[in-house]
């Protein structure tokens, strides 16, 4: 008798648990999971998005393998990631450590660093577009005062990726900083006191106490930054005009996907491209998780 009632209780718990989470589960199913599998299906077809897709087997993938434009965009994406992620995470850590000290007006500084996160990416992109304008931008104006010639931040194909990486670092710094700061706050003071008694200097304390203990948070920040960088699209879309001749040489893989899906209207090939992007992100994330055994310490 008793057993049954416990089971009943359990069942009712399960039931209500599922009922409560149903909205999220349904949302995920409709908005993420079903489209994901549909994309896989589309990648084996030729489709203009309106008529019924025709099955073409692995044709899209063989075309992908020999398409230099795709591989160039993969290289661009990796280049952008290498430029923006390590430096971005390092700077966030650096500023977080500074802002963890007891200085006057520390909350004002924290607010200032966090502000870019509050602004919509589209607005950030618009403002930076003006700052980086090679003719009238304030950055080139200031550089000209230093005697540096005009730099085409957003039109020179060598400068576009570094420029956008810079904007990315600037806009994500505050968010990452706040996360790392929360990690730093969790480190008990006693470790530092013990290190002081042992006569460790600031640098040693940083590398032997701070870094290992903040590493879980650092890992989280690294993973999310990496995924965001590999999926870069919005700054390209807003800051570069479609008529920009340098786009073809600097586009990221997601921008290329967008081109094929919505401009050229080859939905099948676009799906194959976006699956390649998915695989690349998977590989990098898996690599990270494998590496974390070596440097991330969970207390």
């Amino acid at each position: 008798m008793r057993v049954k009632s416990v089971n009943k209780q359990k069942a009712s718990n399960y039931f209500w648990g599922y009922v409560m989470s149903a909205p999220s589960i349904i949302g995920l199913m409709i908005l993420n999971i079903i489209p994901f599998f549909y994309t896989i299906y589309l990648s084996f077809t030729e489709s203009d998005g309106l008529s019924a897709p025709t099955f073409v087997g692995v044709e899209n993938f063989t075309r992908l393998a020999s398409d230099s434009e795709v591989w160039l965009s993969v290289m661009n994406t990796l280049y952008y990631t290498v430029l923006s992620v390590p430096l971005g995470v390092f700077l966030s850590l650096l500023f977080a450590v500074f802002l963890n000290n007891k200085i006057k007006g520390v909350s004002i500084y924290r607010t200032i660093y966090f502000l870019p996160m509050v602004v919509a990416p589209a607005a950030i992109a618009m403002v930076w577009k003006w700052i980086l304008n090679s003719q009238y931008g304030i950055l080139n104006f200031l550089l000209s005062k230093l005697g540096i010639d005009n730099i085409g931040w957003l039109i020179n194909s060598k400068m576009i990726i570094p420029s956008l990486a810079m904007v990315t670092i600037w806009s994500t710094l505050g968010y990452n900083l706040i996360l790392i700061l929360a990690g730093l706050k969790n480190i008990p003071e006693t470790y530092y006191e013990a290190a002081d008694i042992d006569g460790a200097n600031g640098v040693r304390k940083f590398f032997h106490i701070t870094i290992p203990l903040v590493s879980p948070m650092l890992f989280f920040v690294l993973i999310t930054s990496l995924m965001a960088a590999l999926k870069q699209f919005d700054y390209y879309y807003i800051m570069l005009d479609p008529s920009n001749p340098a786009i073809d040489k600097t586009q990221t893989i997601l921008y290329l996907f967008y081109e094929y899906a919505f401009t050229i209207n080859e939905k099948g090939y676009a799906s194959a491209i976006v699956l390649l992007a998915f695989v690349i992100i998977m590989v990098f994330t898996a690599l990270q998780f494998w590496m974390q055994k070596k440097w991330v310490h969970y207390e």
Binding site: N7, V19, I155, S243, P245, F262
Partner: protein
């Protein structure tokens, strides 16, 4: 127990789905259910007086024309009191993505604008309501415009407006340099000569803008030179020397004659903004810019328009839009009625008076022209006589991409003519063959 639970969960999910979706259907179908019964009744009694109210959605992409379209809709409602038409504006870049998504989901707006670039995609997939001969009088519209929106012998849209390309010039810069304004005596040589006289690189003033634009860029030059983008037998025109010469001449404005800023400059600063900020003496664009330029305080009293310069022959590019109806609309009768109304002279006069675009119906253009008394806008209408319809084929999205990436590289001087044109012609032919 667990199995029962999961079953219940599935049922719940399906319920939630159905409820979630039906909300949408309710809004749309509220009238339908009733209309259906009404139709049954009205078969018996055709003199049905009071009809149930119907709301049609009408999707457009140009905010400048919102008022004009609302005026047309209001006039329609006056004649058909039970139908209201709601005008929605979606910016051009998002418009096509949205329309496509709604077409896939069979929830297209009841009425929408259609453009030549995208026409074939929707026509081949039977998404557009066919315009039968009893609905409109085709002879009232220019044949070129009707042909642009005809697929396999059927017209799929009511011609709404047309546009042609002209020279927009900055009078202030001409006066300062003491040059005479462009007129119909100009040929290519004169164009270059004056552009060179007006260029003042020191102060950032350029004589003639040559941005990467096709319709309002090098296309008119191609046809002025006797070339073509698509040949009669459906091949790429870029293999023809006449076409190559014209494109070369257009981009020579940047590199050889040095009268235009670079493509990069335009990509960064925008062609229209470069003109309105007084940096360009002349540039080439379409009649659709008239309204916004004439309302722009900075440039309004400084600019005017003129016919394009003559090459071997005279040519401009004409393009147009249609009012199109959704083939799967829930209110086919009302949509038909609206399209019939949109094809009347009255609707085109209302549209012309709003200044939005040059109305397509014959002899209604003057209403648009009269709105711009300070400008020589008659040239847009005049040029229709020798304008070439905007070159397009069903595979335009694909070859358009090859065209733009190749010619952009040619326009920056990265690709030489002997590499660019054969490659472009070959790639285009491959795509055109598959049609």
């Amino acid at each position: 127990m667990k199995r029962l639970l999961s079953l219940m969960l599935v049922v719940l999910m399906i319920m939630a789905l159905v409820v979630g979706c039906s909300n949408d259907a309710d809004q749309k179908g509220e009238a339908t259910g009733k209309v259906d019964t009404k139709q049954d009744e009205s078969k018996e009694d055709t003199k049905e007086e009071a009809k149930d109210p119907v709301e049609l959605t009408f999707s457009i992409w140009d905010n400048n024309q919102k008022e004009g379209m609302e005026a047309v809709a209001a006039a329609f409602t006056e004649q058909n009191p039970h139908v209201t038409v709601k005008v929605e504006v979606t910016p051009w870049n998002e418009y096509w993505t949205k329309l496509e998504a709604s077409a896939v989901g069979n929830s297209m707006p009841d009425i929408f604008w259609m453009h030549t670039n995208e026409f074939f995609k929707y026509a081949t997939n039977k998404k557009l309501m066919p315009i039968e001969d009893d609905m409109i009088d085709q002879s009232k519209f220019s044949q070129g415009l009707v042909d642009l929106f005809t697929y396999e012998g059927t017209l799929y849209g009511v011609p709404k407006d047309f546009d042609t390309i002209a020279i927009f010039y900055n009078k202030e810069l001409f006066d300062a340099a003491g040059e005479a304004y462009p007129d119909d005596t100009w040929d290519w040589d004169k164009l270059v000569e004056v552009a060179q006289a007006l260029t003042d690189v020191e102060n950032g003033i350029y004589g003639l803008g040559a941005p990467y634009q096709s319709q309002n860029g090098f296309y008119p030059f191609i046809y002025q030179n006797g070339g073509t983008v698509i040949t009669e037998d459906g091949k790429s025109g870029y293999a023809l020397p006449e076409t190559q010469e014209a494109v070369q001449f257009y981009f020579d404005m940047i590199h050889k004659y040095k009268v235009s800023p670079t493509l990069e400059y335009f990509a960064e600063n925008g062609t229209n903004d470069t003109f309105t900020s007084g940096k360009l003496a002349m540039f080439i664009t379409g009649s659709w810019k008239m309204k916004s330029f004439s309302q722009n305080e900075i440039i309004a009293d400084k600019f005017d328009v003129a016919v394009l310069a003559k090459g071997k022959e005279r040519a401009s590019i004409s393009n147009g839009l249609t009012f199109s109806g959704a083939n799967d609309t829930e209110h086919p009768e009302e949509v038909r009625a609206f399209l019939e109304f949109a094809a009347t002279e009255e609707a085109h006069i209302i549209q012309g008076k709003s200044g939005a675009a040059i109305p397509a119906y014959e002899n209604t253009q003057s209403y648009w022209v009269e709105l711009f008394p300070d400008y020589n806008v008659n040239v847009f209408v005049e040029m229709l006589d020798y304008s070439v319809p905007f070159p397009t084929t069903p595979s335009k999205p694909k070859w358009g991409e090859v065209e733009s990436s190749t010619l952009k590289a040619f326009g920056t001087g990265e690709l030489a003519a002997e590499d660019a044109f054969p490659y472009l012609a070959e790639e285009m032919d491959k795509i055109l063959e598959k049609e």
